[in-house]
Amino acid sequence: MSKDTKKSILVIEDDREIRNALKEALQDEGFTVSTAENGRQALDNLKAATCLPCVILLDLMMPVMDGTTFRQEQVADPRLAGIPTAVLSADGRIHEKTANLGLTDSLKKPIDLDAVLAIVARYCR
């Protein structure tokens, strides 16, 4: 795999402003960022992609397909199951809700940029 592939990050987030802010911040750090507005879109993109991201930043509450469903679909697909996934949520009970999703990390909104970068750094070296 190429070095670029390792540094690709997928952001799944319905709020345009959050999506854009994250994209800009990560691009500033030198990562390639792809985005999706909901779980469905992300899943379709992933299935079509030849290069998989090194980490997925996943919002939970989204229209069409929410984060939980996306995660279940992702785990069900052996090619995608191994991608580390960190959840971003404004929900106060984020840990309860994601406990059995096998997620690597969870970040509570408003998220801290340093925390996001630390997670990304862990999986994308």
């Binding site: 402003e17 959050i18 854009n20 500033d28 509450m61 989204m62 229209p63 909104k109 408003p110 940029l113």
Partner: protein, 682 residues
């Protein structure tokens, strides 16, 4: 209770009286019998005596004849003819007298009468012949010439004597016969007396025995009845064997037992009611939802009141309908047909709700007269009991019975007591459910509010952190002008979003506290609408919504301009949010003193069942993830419109767009409206 009177017709005493009367009658009858049998005896004796007398007379006649003949012979021999004639005359009259006596005495004796007739004839012939002899003698004076005449006389005399002898023989025969009769019947009176005595004794003995036996049986019967009752069998009623004193005592005893039984039944009923009440209390303690409580009310209430049909319903929020929750004992389809009953309807249940009184239907006739009859296969009597708390109707319970029924006061009191408890339980659980709903709504609201507040905060924070990071790395100046502006504008937008959210929350808080104050001012409604459309032009065009406006530009409204703007903004941005890419039609018109604003989109529409709900707090039709926002917009709009005395409603069909219609009174002449009396239940 009536005590049996012993004076009315004391039957034992009566029976005794009958016995005495029977004895007297029997004695009189016996005496008469003895008299009759003795009378024959006496008659026989009298007849024998009569025969003897007659016999004497015939003897005297015979002796008279003999004496007459001797006298005649003697005087004729002495030729003393005149004396002889005289003596003969005297004898003849004497004998005639005797014959007359005999005839008189034997007038009804058929055996004697013909012989006596013969005697009379012979004696008359005898007299005539002797008179003839005396005439010839007087003419001739010679006895010897009379020899042939005297032979005839002698022959007549012999005939007479023969006849007399025959009479005597007949009489003797009659006397013997009579004697034999009398003699053979000499024991008859005794026999009659003895037989009667035996008969009487037998009757008295049998009657007495029977009476004693009956008496004994009655007493035994009563005795065994008292034993049974003493053992506690109060259902037992002693058999009334006779309508006498014992019978009356038995009847009185039965009455007493019945009274005892009724007393015990009342006591049992009382105890069972207390047990029922306790059971209901226990059942209520386990019922946590209103439907649980209503089920308990229907089932336990029916059981306690021994009803076969039960129905329970709660009054709708607006008080216009009874929402029937449970039917028991009715056919299944009733739940579907009668799930909602308008309170204005003429039914026992609704009457109980309207009057807040027990409503009783005692019979099908009663039902026919008052409510047009019972339904087929339904109960034959019915009682509707309102469920009241502090005079407020929560619902109603109906109980039906399979037969016509009158409800006594104790029963009604019991029902009132039971259903008062039911009402309290229902009230508590309704409060509890309302509180739970409120808590759930609040939790949900907090969760949404938290989510909604955190969402704009996230890009704001990220932008600031990016900014800080560039400063720290010393790369800030390498950022382009556009990038910096974009960062600042993004941050400003987030602050705007936050401000709007806070404003909405404050509005809800004001409305909840009833502090939504209106400051009215006259303004041109059409201009206001056009201004908003212009203000949100960017957002609308981003959403791809073309606005088609038909406005009456002359309308001047006297309303709280900022609040009305809020409503219009909410409707227009909702349309842009939910029906992006489709045109929005805005229609403004005036009829009378009312302004009508219609905002129509061509979006997905709202299902009928959701159309009321969307005006509630924190409600959004679709999944909350679909569209950002607190879901307070329509709620706030509705409160604002209602505070102005107007109405907001939606006309929509799924898949066919929605049209929100706001009707507002122009408010001419009004200055300030105090906060609308918004009823808050939380």
């Amino acid at each position: 209770m009536k005590t049996p009177s012993f004076n009315q017709s004391a039957s034992l005493a009566k029976q005794l009286r009958y016995v005495v009367i029977s004895v007297v009658l029997f004695f009189l009858l016996g005496s008469f019998g003895v008299y009759l049998s003795s009378r024959n005896f006496l008659v026989g004796l009298t007849e024998i005596n009569g025969a003897n007398n007659l016999l004497d007379i015939t003897t005297q006649i015979n002796e008279g004849l003999i004496a007459t003949n001797q006298n005649l012979q003697k005087l004729l021999a002495a030729k003393n003819i005149s004396d002889a004639h005289y003596a003969f005359k005297a004898s003849q009259s004497l004998i005639s007298e005797r014959i007359r006596q005999a005839t008189e005495m034997s007038a009804d004796d058929s055996e004697i009468t013909p012989i006596l007739a013969e005697v009379r004839q012979d004696f008359a012939d005898y007299g005539k012949n002797i008179e003839g002899v005396f005439k010839k003698l007087a003419a001739t004076g010679d006895i010897s010439t009379l020899k042939s005449d005297l032979v005839v006389v002698e022959q007549l005399e012999l005939d007479l004597k023969d006849a007399l002898r025959r009479i005597q023989i007949t009489l003797r025969t009659q006397g013997d016969r009579e004697f034999n009769n009398v003699y053979s019947g000499r024991y008859m009176p005794l026999l009659v007396a003895v037989v009667l005595a035996i008969l009487f004794s037998v009757i008295v003995l049998v009657g007495g025995f029977y009476m004693i036996r009956r008496f004994d049986k009655s007493i035994t019967n009563l005795n065994s009845a008292t034993d049974r009752v003493a053992r506690g069998d109060l259902d037992f009623q002693a058999k009334i064997m006779d309508h006498n004193e014992i019978g009356r005592v038995t009847a009185a005893f039965n009455k007493m037992v019945k009274a005892l039984r009724e007393g015990r039944e009342k006591l049992d009923l009382f105890v069972s009611r207390i047990v029922r009440l306790q059971g209901i209390t226990a059942a209520f303690s386990e019922a946590v939802s209103a439907s649980d409580v209503l089920e308990v009310i229907a089932l336990e209430g029916m059981e306690a009141c021994r009803a076969t049909h039960g129905a329970v319903g709660v009054l709708s929020e607006d008080g216009a309908h009874l929402k029937m929750q449970k039917y028991i004992g009715y056919p299944d389809e009733i739940q579907k047909e009668w799930s909602e009953i308008p309170v204005s309807g003429n039914y026992p249940l609704t009457e109980a709700v309207r009057t807040r009184q027990l409503t009783i239907v005692e019979s099908p006739e009663d039902a026919l007269a008052k409510y047009g009859g019972f339904r087929d296969g339904g109960p034959q009597s019915f009682i509707a009991i309102p469920l009241l708390v502090d005079g407020r109707v929560l619902g109603v319970v109906g109980l039906g019975y399979p037969t016509p029924k009158k409800f006594d006061k104790a029963e009604l009191d019991f029902m009132v007591a039971i259903f008062r408890q039911c009402s309290q339980a229902l009230h508590r659980v309704q409060l509890f459910e309302k509180a739970q709903v409120a808590i759930r709504a609040r939790d949900e609201f907090l969760s949404i509010a938290s989510h909604e507040l955190r969402t704009p905060m996230t890009p704001l924070k990220l932008q600031l952190q990016i900014f800080i990071r560039h400063i720290k790395k010393g790369t800030l100046l390498q950022l382009t002008q556009e990038r910096l502006l974009e960062m600042a504008e993004t941050s400003e937008r987030q602050i705007g979003r936050l401000a709007n959210l806070v404003e909405d929350l404050l509005d809800v808080s004001r409305i909840s506290a009833g502090k939504l104050r209106l400051s009215r001012e006259p303004f041109n409604f059409a201009e206001m609408v056009e201004e908003i459309v212009a203000r949100y032009g960017h957002q609308l065009s981003t959403a791809g919504c073309k606005v088609d406006m038909k406005v009456d530009k002359t309308i001047v409204a006297n309303m709280d301009r900022l609040r009305i703007e809020q409503v219009v903004v909410n409707l227009v941005t909702n349309a842009a949010k939910y029906a992006s890419g489709k045109p929005i039609h805005i229609d403004l018109s005036q009829f009378g003193s009312t302004v009508r604003l219609a905002v129509k989109d061509e979006g997905p529409g709202i299902a009928y069942q959701d159309q009321d709900r969307i005006f509630d707090r924190f409600e959004r039709v679709r999944s909350r993830d679909h569209v950002e926002g607190l879901g307070l917009g329509l709620y706030i709009s509705k409160q604002i419109v209602e505070a102005h005395g107007g109405k907001i409603r939606v006309i929509s069909k799924e898949g066919d767009g929605s049209m929100f219609i706001v009707d507002l009174p122009l408010g001419v002449g009004m200055t300030e409206t105090p906060g609308a009396a918004v009823s808050e239940t939380t």
